[in-house]
Amino acid sequence: MADALVIKKLNKRFGGLRAVQDVSFTVRENETLALIGPNGAGKTTAFNLIMGFHRPDEGSVTAFGTEIVGMRPYQVCAQGLARTFQVAKPFGGMTVLDNVMTGAFLHYRNPEEARDKAREVIEFVGLSARESTAARDITTIDQRRLEMARALATQPKILLLDEVMAGLNPSEVDQAVALIDKLSGSGLTIVIVEHLMRAIMAVSKHIVVLDHGQKIAEGNPKDVMANPEVIRAYLGSYAHSPNGGVA
């Protein structure tokens, strides 16, 4: 398998805060990589750096061999990367179908074709019943589905999912996991930021752990979970007590 996304020595400061420090990792084609870490570890910042929403102070990101640092978000998208936002950003006044069509227009400028493509994706994520509802009137969970559909409509090769499962109930998590499996089965490379361990274990064989902006561990789920650094990071305030290790 070839490398899909190569991140090298990524750095970003916000004022005095080093949000991301020397982070490097490689996502291989058609794998699902999970980016985990405690709140404020720099996961969303890393997404924003990759997608061109912030410009890194240093470092390089290449997608299928093309350097994408310095590109604006729409250019990154044209390179075959699509993302969802942690807080869904639907185009509230537009219907679900129109929302997804804006994504489909990237490759199909004809409205009829775009509409057909959009309907395919909407069906794929299971939103067909809501097709002509205004995006602001659907549930938060449906809005996350919509985000995914809109991103998929741009026909990405790499999909970055930012906490798409937060707040879902167990059966909805199962649905989401199944959806991600289905996407992966179709050949997509996926980077997922997630808190829910159960879901991460289900979808990903490759985990990168961030803490305070730095990569502290990388590997398969079992090794990563056994890593003392990871345990310390996750247990936060218990870290200093000698017998704090619950795991």
Binding site: R72, Q75, F85, F91, A151, T154
Partner: protein
Amino acid sequence: MRWVIGLIAAVAVLIALPLVVESAFAIDICIRILLFSFIGVAWNLMGGYAKQLSLGHAAYFGLGAYTSTILQINYDISPWIGMVAGGCVAMLASLPIGWLCFRLRGPYFTIATIATAQALMLIFLKFRDFAWGAEGTTIPNLGNAPLMMQFEEKAGYYYVVLGLLALALAINYKIEKSWMGYYLVAIGEDEDAAEAVGINAPRIKRDIYLISSFLTALAGTFYVQYIYFIDPATAFSFNVSIEAALVSIVGGIGTLWGPVIGTVLLETTSALLQSWLGSGIGGIQLTIYSLILMAVILWRPTGIMGYFYELAARRRARLVKA
């Protein structure tokens, strides 16, 4: 099918109108309605669909007015050509102005557009050698000269501005139905999300600004030909910027017919006021306008068209249930 017949009937009525109506006052009001509808549609393309809330469109109105007048008086060039030239000057001006103003978002974009339009007015006030300074100039009356965009009968002007409005509506319709229309609305809703799905927001905003300023400039040329006079205060009047936005918001921001409906409502109100109270009381027109605007914003932020859409949606929902 029904709406096609309706449209044909409406066009027929509009074409026949000057033949039936004899009162010059009434025709004048019709011309004002068509003109401000046209300016409103031009504004709405950018301000309504893409939510780039400019209050500086007087800049392009004025550039259109001055370009055609300078060409006509100094070089004897027909305002028909001057009109297109004015549109091109406006498009050229919109590039640097847009480059500056689009760096800002939200209310500060609005302020920057006001500042650029005011700066342009000040420039024209100051340079009298270039364009008659603050006194302005009258445009020579050539009698009935359709080739110079001058008509003895007001009906002539009526048809010109009716044609302009039809053009703007056609352009608007085409854009609304194409990818561009979707992209504009997406940018207006959330620029970051729009860029994330591959929309080149800066370019789309630049392009729609070009179109919007071109159309606004045509209105400027028409207006000075209609009133036979130009000075900076008229050509760059802040009221033009205000009314362009106002009619769109009242009628329904980001809708094809919104600006037209808004203009009909506002201009009719203003004409009625004028015939009841005379034009003696300064400020009454804008007092009423601002009250209407406040009422719309507080109770119907989607405007009159938005209200219709809601009603239609509710009726559809009821039909589905039944």
